[in-house]
């Protein structure tokens, strides 16, 4: 449902037993105790999650501000320094990685939205066979990324790959798809779009089936064309769902790691080195540079958070305008 300021419906949609009313009064003492018991039972799991997720994040941020070396006696950290951030800002491949990751995110999300929208529209009209089609479409999404990356690696192989043979049909002579910057990036995008378009399609389909039919009937009565119906009715009503799909995809695409790691190793040169790959290389592979690596990770997280906040603000304003 679109964001509205209408009063809550009679059935509030809360899980049974929860009234949403404030817990005061004799009847609610029991409920309060139940709530506390619930917290007590989930506390161990929550503490564990806090240790496994919150602690490494905080530790990583702390490391990014210190000079870190690793010896056989453990981490040796000293002082508070902004040197790690200065280092990455002056490091060419980092600036490239930011541009590459942002550009990659924008392009793949746009393409996936368009393709996913098309697939969702078709699926919505299928009555029988929708289940089977959805299952088939979800196959790429369900494959583990590393496995599908290996499959794409075979497809892109210069001597035996089907993709290379296909490109040769179009006139390219002895193409080495993963060996040149532009073609490697496009190859990466193709593999990613193939994998995540079904995910976007499913989200958009879920939004599509919830749209009220009466608006469409009214539009038909008024003689609106298909295109007008789509652009003036479907898309605006679908805005929250589209926003959700974009949010999910952006968060995912910013962490781009497994595909380039398997397909190109970040190469050729550093053409497909995304922020996540650069951070991994800095800390664990080439440089054993813990401070700068943590700085890369922290700055990436910051970028994502800022991006999502901006997006949310713009999106909320847009949605409010549409409805109001």
């Amino acid at each position: 449902m679109a964001v509205t300021s209408a009063p809550p419906p009679a059935t509030s949609g809360l899980p049974p037993g929860v009234s949403g009313r404030p817990l005061v009064g004799r009847h609610d003492v029991f409920r309060r105790q139940l709530a506390r018991l619930g917290w007590g039972f989930s506390a161990p799991a929550l503490i564990f999650i806090a240790l496994v997720t919150v602690f490494p994040i905080v530790y990583s941020v702390i490391i990014s501000f210190r000079h870190v070396l690793l010896y056989s006696t453990g981490f040796h950290m000293s002082g508070f320094t902004l040197n790690n951030y200065a280092k990455i800002i002056h490091y060419g491949p980092w600036r490239y990685a930011v541009a590459f990751t942002v550009g990659y995110t924008v392009v793949t999300v746009l393409v996936e939205l368009v393709l996913g929208m098309g697939i969702a529209l078709v699926l919505e009209r299928l009555s029988r066979g929708r289940g089977i089609m959805m299952a088939l479409l979800l196959l790429p999404w369900s494959l583990i990324t590393v496995i599908s990356a290996r499959l794409w690696q075979y497809l892109y192989d210069p001597s035996v790959g089907a993709a290379s043979k296909l490109v040769q049909l179009f006139g390219a002579h002895n193409p080495v798809i993963l060996g040149h910057n532009a073609s490697a990036i496009i190859a990466l995008m193709v593999a990613d779009i193939w994998k995540t378009t079904p995910f976007v399609a499913i989200i958009l389909l879920a939004g599509l089936v919830m749209l009220p039919q009466d608006v469409y009937e009214a539009a038909e009565v008024d003689g609106a064309s298909e295109w007008a119906t789509f652009f003036r009715i479907t898309l605006p009503m679908l805005a929250p769902t589209i926003g959700l799909a974009i949010l999910f995809r952006v968060l995912q695409a910013f962490g781009l790691f497994d595909l380039p790691n398997v397909l190109t190793g970040g190469g050729p040169g550093h053409a497909t080195t995304s922020l996540a790959i650069l951070g991994y290389q800095a800390m664990f592979e080439f440089n054993q540079a813990w401070g700068p690596g943590a700085a890369i990770a922290t700055s990436t997280a910051l970028l994502v958070v800022l991006g999502c906040l901006c997006f949310y603000r713009v999106f909320k304003a847009q949605a409010a305008r549409e409805v109001g």
């Binding site: 702390i62 210190r66 910057n181 190793g265």
Partner: protein, 480 residues
């Protein structure tokens, strides 16, 4: 999506306040834990103190019956200990049984009945291996003796992940190894690894084709190119020469061979400046590599070729000459290969005007001792035995690995045992420029530019000057 309706402010605030409080508590606890863990500025002595640093500490180095350094089982740490317990970390050496690691351990335990060795199987990918080892040793634990790549001495030495063996073993021990190997294991004047078995580049050739065309095994690169062109003109193979120039460490190995043949080197003797632009050798070497592809002698996919791609091309009969490591001989003679019985091995060629043979890049594995180990004396004994004549003989004759012990390499029984070992005494070795702890970044500068030049996206001179400035910037503290 369910809506929660409009709740009165008071209860919402109470609920939200609870969540905020819980989250704040989690973060505060994390900061406190991280804070007290990270202020460890212990003195980094290189002896075998156990872990005390950070929250990754814990876990000693295996069960041990022996005491500290120098007082173990009747001997000082000179390799004469007679009791102790060792955790030996090694990745698989071969893919078929019997397992050489287990065979060697059994033989060692027979010679030293009171020293118990436990094998820990390591990941086969060398970079994964290094990450895991770094985590373990940095966490204060780790194995006692580990088998590591030949390019690790400087990185591991500077992080004190390995014991300087030259503190415990005399020069006479290090002189038992083939020339070039100990230089590659040295950092800051100390030797950190004992060469265990080595690998190097060889020239594999189709002896049936050379015989049919009355051609000699090429002694110069120029001769190899002209012979390839003849062979390709007669359509006997698709390509002349396949090697490795993908964007990975193997490209550095291949480049080192061409570079040293041309008379160049990567680093100066103090390992703090790049010598790539000091003379014309690097550009000459890289121009030659690029010309192999541009003239059609090598496939255009060379800039994506790793060992497997080159091996497949040669095994399928698509190439007349191959540059690969020692295992390539047995792989080319395994079932499924189209060149069984048709392969010869020779040292690599060099450029015209230089003395034959050309240089082969050193690969292979060293044995290192963990400073966190509680029984360094037993560890040194184990290392000495594994690099001694008996163990090296087993490696060579039973498992066809190239021994590092010089006397074993030239023993006639070993030389006769397979085609590759027969060539080994005739080759010349050159190490990669791993004397600097920043070797990984130096190698990356080399292989990224080499691969780009071979693939044609950079000119050789631009690639060399880019590599040169990249290396200088890394060595002077730039980069990450």
């Amino acid at each position: 999506m369910a809506s929660t309706g409009n709740l009165p402010v008071r209860s919402v605030w109470r609920r939200r306040g609870f969540h905020t409080a819980a989250a704040a508590a989690a973060i505060a606890t994390s900061v406190a834990l991280a804070g007290c863990g990270s202020s460890s500025n212990n003195n980094n002595s290189s002896t075998n103190t156990t872990a005390s640093g950070g929250l990754g500490g814990g876990g000693g180095s295996g069960t041990t019956t022996s005491t500290t350094l120098g007082k173990t089982g009747g001997g000082t740490a000179k390799g004469t200990a007679t009791s102790g317990s060792i955790k030996f970390w090694a990745s698989p050496i071969t893919t078929s049984s019997p397992d050489p690691r287990k065979v060697l351990i059994t033989a060692f335990e027979k010679a030293y009945p009171h020293i118990k060795v436990t094998l820990e199987s390591a990941p086969s990918d060398t970079d994964t291996n290094r990450s895991v080892l770094s985590s373990q040793i940095g966490g204060g634990g780790g194995p006692d003796v580990y088998m590591g790549d030949v390019i690790w001495p400087a990185q591991f030495g500077s992080q004190k992940f390995a014991v300087p063996l030259s503190k415990y073993l005399p020069n006479s021990y290090f002189n038992t190894f083939a020339p070039g190997l100990i230089a590659g294991a040295t950092y800051n004047g100390q030797v950190y690894g004992a060469p265990f078995f080595e690998d190097q580049g060889f020239l594999y050739y189709r002896k049936d084709i050379l015989k049919a065309d009355h051609l000699q095994v090429p002694k110069t690169w120029e001769q190899l190119v002209s012979e390839s062109k003849q062979i390709q003109a007669k359509k006997q193979t698709k390509y002349g020469y396949v090697f490795q120039a993908a964007d990975y460490e193997g490209a550095t190995c291949n480049f080192m061979e061409f570079l040293t043949d041309a008379g160049g080197k990567v680093l100066n003797s103090s390992a703090n400046k790049s010598e790539l632009s000091a003379n014309n050798a690097a550009v000459k070497a890289l121009t030659f590599m690029h010309s192999l592809v541009s003239s059609g002698v090598s496939p255009s996919g060379e800039s994506t070729y790793q060992e497997a791609n080159a091996m497949n091309a040669f095994d399928a009969g698509d190439a007349a000459f191959l540059r690969n490591w020692d295992y390539a001989y047995s792989t080319s003679q395994a079932s499924g290969s189209k060149v069984i019985g048709k392969v010869g091995v020779a040292p690599l060629p060099t450029f015209k005007g230089q003395s034959y043979p050309g240089y082969s890049n050193i690969g292979g594995w060293n044995l290192y001792v963990n400073p966190n180990s509680k029984n360094v004396a037993a560890d040194i004994t184990f290392v000495k035995w594994m690099t001694g004549t008996k163990a090296q003989n087993i490696l060579a004759t039973q498992f066809s690995e190239i021994p590092t012990n010089q006397s074993v390499r030239t023993e006639s029984k070993v030389v006769k045992s397979n085609a590759v070992l027969a060539i080994v005494p005739k080759t010349r070795l050159v190490a990669r420029p791993a004397q600097t702890p920043k070797y990984a970044a130096v190698s990356q500068a080399i292989y990224q530019n080499v691969s780009a030049a071979v693939g044609g996206s950079k000119s050789p001179s631009a690639a060399i000057s880019a590599a040169n400035s990249s290396i200088n910037s890394t060595l002077s503290g730039g980069g990450l």
